[in-house]
Symmetry: C2
Subunit: 189 residues, 2 copies
DNA sequence: TGTACATCAGTGAACGCGCGTTCACTGATGTAC
DNA sequence: TGTACATCAGTGAACGCGCGTTCACTGATGTAC
């Protein structure tokens, strides 16, 4: 049942992206290798032709998810766009495709070095991007831009976590709307 | 080996508080009943004299953790106090005794109805408290107080999650300090 | 280009461990008289 | 107050299932000649 090298590489790729989705949806311990492989369309035995362990897959899946997030954030034309998209009901309801930090934040703090190092680099990158935007908005060379960037990133992540954790749809929507307003998603750029 | 009714009630209590601590430290799936019971000083078999299942314990432990948090927040004399304590390095490093939402936020969204309803009530309570304080600071009857309360709560939770997830102690400290400044922990009341 | 052989991605059964749950049992507590 | 019996919190072994991991095997792909 050997497959093309090309096909094998594609399968490996799909294992990583599928895992990245499922981990965000159900947590690291909430998904088994069999569920991941089944969603890819393979049997679980073949997993170890691609990865040494579930942990190795987890590290790679997180890295992939962070890279995808970074790309998505970079695509926004303005801070306003980014905040509106991040705090949209659609993003709240898209656990598997959304922000890795909001979905797995608590668990990441308990993960190994590789995962946490990747996350740290991602946070630095996002802070730099936000600070640049904020400096542009407030006037060049704003010394408070970095502090504002940190407050904004924290507010975005926290608002999404709260909006997802809360039981009442009306309260959840209110949280998103208030945070959009507070973090610049409703004002002009 | 029967024990006093009093002693049994005390044991039950300790199971709940120990579970509340360990769940926050290692996640729901990261701790077994045997570990919880061992830390209490009992054997795992006795667990089912007190609870019908691990899930039932989880719901009660979360509720207990939220109640403890609410009490702690209410004890602060001012918003400044609360923000400074919440965003302190000590709180960041006290996973087991700290904020339930920051420690288990992502997992709570995947829990049952009981847990989420309790969390929702807790969030409402905190928002009301924050809005009252913010209205007091800005002048009575501030219509933006609630929006500001939401932004503040989100910022607190998000900053703590980020500070814990990040690998670099200096960046972690910077996040806490910036958020303290941005959310009113450094200004006068 | 064609043939023979080596490689190796994927299969599916099996292993082993952890963990939630159950159960027969113990013996001190609680209660009825 | 004292005695006999019922209750039940806690014990420790056992069960069963899920899941990460291993392994012998298959058969198409890749390669050497």
């Amino acid at each position: 049942m050997r497959v093309t090298r090309e096909k094998a590489a594609e399968n490996r790729e799909r294992i990583v992206t599928t895992a990245a989705k499922l981990f965000r949806e159900k947590g690291f311990d909430g998904v088994g290798l069999d569920a991941i492989m089944a969603e890819v369309g393979l049997t679980h035995g073949g997993f170890y032709r691609h990865f040494r362990s579930k942990d190795e897959l987890a590290a790679e899946a997180i890295a992939r998810g962070l890279a995808a997030s970074a790309e998505k954030q970079a695509a926004h034309a303005s801070l306003q766009d980014l905040v509106c998209a991040y705090l949209s009901p659609a993003h709240r309801d898209d656990l598997g495709g959304g922000c890795v930090v909001a979905a797995l934040g608590g668990d990441i703090a308990r993960q190994g070095d590789g995962v946490r190092r990747g996350l740290t680099a991602y946070v630095r990158e996002q802070l730099d991007r936000l600070a640049r935007w904020l400096a542009g908005r407030n006037g060049k060379r704003d010394p408070a831009a970095r502090e504002q960037a940190i407050a904004t990133l924290a507010g975005l992540v926290g608002a999404l976590v709260l909006a997802r954790a809360v039981d009442d749809p009306a309260l959840s929507d209110e949280i998103l709307a208030a945070a959009r307003a507070a973090y610049g998603g409703a004002e002009g750029s």
